[in-house]
């Protein structure tokens, strides 16, 4: 018997979205040990972590496609479908950037100059923190749906997003400092290596940018 009651419920995108963000964060988190291995010139460990990052990025990608397929236009939801799809897209970009950073470093067998190594590692950590805060905020999605996007839950999530913004501002400052530190030593580096170091720093910073955009998207759902 086609049960009417059972079938009127579409596949809820909420839990899958939370799960996607979980995978994305697990992916981003790998960047710190990866950069550590780069600084230590531990090639074996680098390759190992690089393949883990790739696997997680791939997993996130598959889940993203799955969620999209299960969100047909006929779905009636408390929030616009487009907003949720956009949220999914920026979540996924966090994993993409992580993969890009590790890819450039790996592909060009890059070394991080020891003058900026500690700073860069710290910078990576802040970006991972931003991703973590984004995950924390996204985890509130199901509560938001239950509360109907009203009241105390909204305040809670707004505060989380504010904190996320602060972390992102902090990474921006770090990025400026690290760039000027690199500028100081760039003459001593191979020009192409230096160019790519700027590129890697830029890409790393985008992790926090994307995390912040996750926050912006969530905020749109609250309004």
């Amino acid at each position: 018997m086609a049960n009417m009651l059972a079938n009127i419920f579409g596949t809820s995108p909420v839990r899958p979205l939370e799960r996607h963000m979980d995978i994305v964060y697990r992916c981003a988190k790998k960047l710190r040990p990866f950069v550590n291995a780069v600084i230590k010139r531990d090639l074996k460990r680098m390759a190992e972590l690089r393949s883990q990052i790739e696997a997680l990025e791939h997993e996130a990608d598959n889940l993203k496609k799955d969620i999209r397929l299960n969100m047909p236009k006929s779905l009636f939801m408390p929030v616009p479908r487009e907003d949720l799809l956009e949220l999914l897209l920026v979540q996924d970009k966090i994993a993409n950037r992580t993969k890009d950073v590790s890819g450039v470093i790996m592909g060009r067998k890059m070394k991080i100059p020891k003058e900026i190594a500690p700073q860069y590692l710290e910078f990576v950590q802040s970006n991972v923190d931003a991703a973590k805060q984004a995950r924390k905020s996204v985890r509130e999605l199901d509560e938001l749906f239950t509360a109907g996007f009203k009241g105390a839950e909204v305040t809670l999530v707004s505060e989380m997003i504010e904190e996320l913004d602060e972390i992102e501002t902090h990474t921006d400052e770090q990025q400026t400092r690290i760039r000027s530190a690199l500028f100081e030593i760039e003459k001593s580096l191979d020009p192409i290596d230096a160019m790519f170091l700027y590129e890697v720093i830029e890409l790393t910073g985008e992790i926090a940018d994307m995390a912040e955009r996750v926050g912006r998207r969530l905020e749109l759902l609250l309004s």
Binding site: M1, A2, N3, M4, L5, A6, N7, I8, F9, G10, T11, S12, P13, V14, M71, P72, S74, L75, F76, M77, P78, R139, D142, E143, F145, T146, A147, G148, F149, K150, G151, A152, E153, V154
Partner: protein, 419 residues
């Protein structure tokens, strides 16, 4: 009238089959939410459903049964006919068989059809074509059809209001658990009060009890207060689970709503029994009355055994296949958490019980679907598939002519082969 035993046995067999089908399929809608949200285990759900479906059928199923039995076909017109009594017996048998067959076809193909729509369509069909267009009480049929639109809308509206109030009073507050413990007993009182009151006012006279309006209210308030106090005691025993709450802030709050949901599930089972039993036994009751008295329209009361048979059929269906359906549906409707499920169930149960009290056969499942949409309108449900809602509307329109055509065929067949 000759061959009366044959007619009664045939009608009882068909009626029992319908009741069994209702128990096997439709009851799941009333109970699955409680199982899905783990407010009840499957065993408890079946026990609750058995008791309250039966009680609903026997205590409050009388009005709707009498509408199906004598409200749709104009008895006066048949009295004037030579073999009017026989025609009505054939017709009711044909209607039962047609509705049962249509439900079977629909189930096999996965169409979401309603038992009520099938049986009403079938009765109207045989009466209009088999006897004559004038044999149908079109005014009454019109009322029934309008109620099919009105009941889901009403339930949806009530569900919207209830869920909005839950959001405002409990879910959007700083301390939802404390608020839930305070307000949930109030919802319990409201749920128990409405259902008992309508039952006492409209249902009990069928079992021979007559209570004055004033004492009806007092009795309903007393019962509802008792249930609310019992619920409050159960709720006060619920302790927060910090570990589970870390990943889901509403974990303990939902457990409080789980207690409430047991009560609304009882109400829903009761309401369902009161409205849907008539689909199976209304035609049976008509056949029994004619066969026993030999004439149409005799002032016979509804035999208690007929209601019992319907109630028992539902319970047997529940026990045989219902278990499986409840488990399947329960898994699929996890979105209907206790806080949402109770709002939908309470709204639907209230609407259905009131309709039962006034004798209108409505589709209980469609009413529940309307209530779920109402919760969705209150931004309460994560995702509702509107394609399925559209399919339900289409099946609504198809079921009535389908039931009618089948009933006409069976009617002509019975005229040929039955004595």
């Amino acid at each position: 009238m000759e061959y009366q035993t044959t007619y009664i046995v045939l009608a009882a067999a068909f009626g029992l089959f319908m009741a069994w089908g209702i128990g096997a399929n439709d009851v799941a809608n009333a109970m699955a939410t409680s199982v899905g949200s783990k407010a009840l285990t499957i065993k408890q759900a079946i026990l609750v459903a058995a008791i309250f479906e039966f009680a609903g059928a026997v205590l409050a199923g009388g009005e709707v049964t009498s509408t199906i039995r004598k409200g749709i076909v104009d008895a006066d017109l048949l009295i004037g006919m030579d073999d009017g009594a026989k025609m009505l017996v054939y017709g009711m048998l044909a209607a039962l068989l047609a509705a049962g067959t249509w439900l079977l076809i629909a189930s096999r193909n996965g169409w979401p059809v309603s038992t009520t729509h099938s049986i009403v369509g079938a009765i109207v069909g045989f009466a209009a074509v088999g006897i004559g267009v004038d044999a149908v009480q079109w005014g009454k049929v019109g009322t029934i059809v309008v109620s099919w639109v009105v009941s889901p809308l009403t339930a949806g509206f009530i569900a919207y209001l209830i869920y909005r109030s839950v959001q405002k009073l409990i879910l959007s507050q700083d301390d939802p658990l404390a608020k839930a413990k305070r307000y949930v007993p109030v919802y319990m009182f409201l749920a128990a009060f409405t259902i008992t009151l309508v039952t006492i006012l409209k249902g009990l006279k069928h079992v021979g009890l007559n209570i004055s309006i004033q004492s009806s209210y007092i009795l309903a308030i007393a019962i509802a207060a008792g249930i609310a106090v019992l619920g409050a005691i159960l709720i006060s025993r619920i302790k927060p689970d910090p570990k589970a709450e870390k990943s889901q802030h509403f974990y303990t709050v939902e457990r409080v709503f789980g207690v409430l949901m047991v009560i609304t599930a009882c109400g829903m089972a009761f309401a369902h029994g009161s409205n849907d039993v008539a689909n199976a036994i209304g035609p049976l009751a008509a056949v029994v009355s004619i066969a026993k008295n030999g004439i149409i329209g005799a002032k016979s009361s509804l035999d208690a055994w007929v209601l019992m048979l319907g109630g028992a059929g539902i319970v047997v269906g529940l026990a045989t296949f219902g278990r499986h359906v409840i488990a399947t549906v329960g898994k699929k409707i996890t979105q209907l958490t206790p806080s949402r499920g109770f709002a939908a169930e309470l709204a639907a149960a209230t609407t259905i019980v009131i309709a039962s009290g006034t004798g209108i056969p409505i589709s209980t499942t469609h009413t529940l679907v309307g209530a779920v949409l109402g919760v969705g309108m209150a931004r309460g449900i994560e995702a509702i598939d509107l394609r399925v809602v559209a399919r339900i509307l289409i099946s609504w329109v198809v079921t009535i002519p389908a039931g009618a055509v089948l009933a006409i065929l069976f009617f002509l067949l019975f005229k040929l082969i039955l004595p």
